[in-house]
Symmetry: C2
Subunit: 127 residues, 2 copies
Amino acid sequence: MSKSKGTRAERELYHLLWDKGFAVVRVAGSGSTPLPAPDLIAGKLGKIYAIECKTIKSNKKYMNEEEINSLNSFSRIFGATPLIGIRFARENWYFLNPDQLLKSKSSMVISKEFAKDKGLSIHQLLE
Amino acid sequence: MSKSKGTRAERELYHLLWDKGFAVVRVAGSGSTPLPAPDLIAGKLGKIYAIECKTIKSNKKYMNEEEINSLNSFSRIFGATPLIGIRFARENWYFLNPDQLLKSKSSMVISKEFAKDKGLSIHQLLE
């Protein structure tokens, strides 16, 4: 995914979460610092989510384990719940916990069906 | 303060807090988004701080009320403790809660003496 597409996805989710009553920040240099950094952090009265944002045109998204480990490690220290926010073309956002992901050889894979079946919608996230 | 000096102060405090065991992010676009955004968010096992960073060469730092209100408002929604991290020339960092600040006409003022007297050091912050 190009950097600008990643930024667009981040901004989209950033505004969506503000609209839903969260206070949200986009993280400077996420994906380019040696220290772990999620794309977004959203909080609502102490319920804190560290979020990696993904948008994808095909029906399957591969993520490397390092990215998942980094999200988990940041979240554990910070005291946040780690989430992968994923949006497939012409679908809504779905939110998955890294623990839910299936391993495929050297990477983790999220299919559209899996995200829709196991992921939380934004409304479920708010409950 | 120039943008680059602000960024330098942010980076310095960012690394200092990582060294002290916090997970920290620098916030993208802080000071330039219409939505409230602190400079840094630091968390350690659920204890979350939203931080505005200031460095100053003179002995007094003025902050406008809008900046303080924005920090407070973000922190309230997110569920973080708001802090102003301030470092005067040849001094350590001190951390003040916005409620501690004294009002001077249309702005809030932090003198070096006040910061050293009322502010928490990084070690006190960790306790």
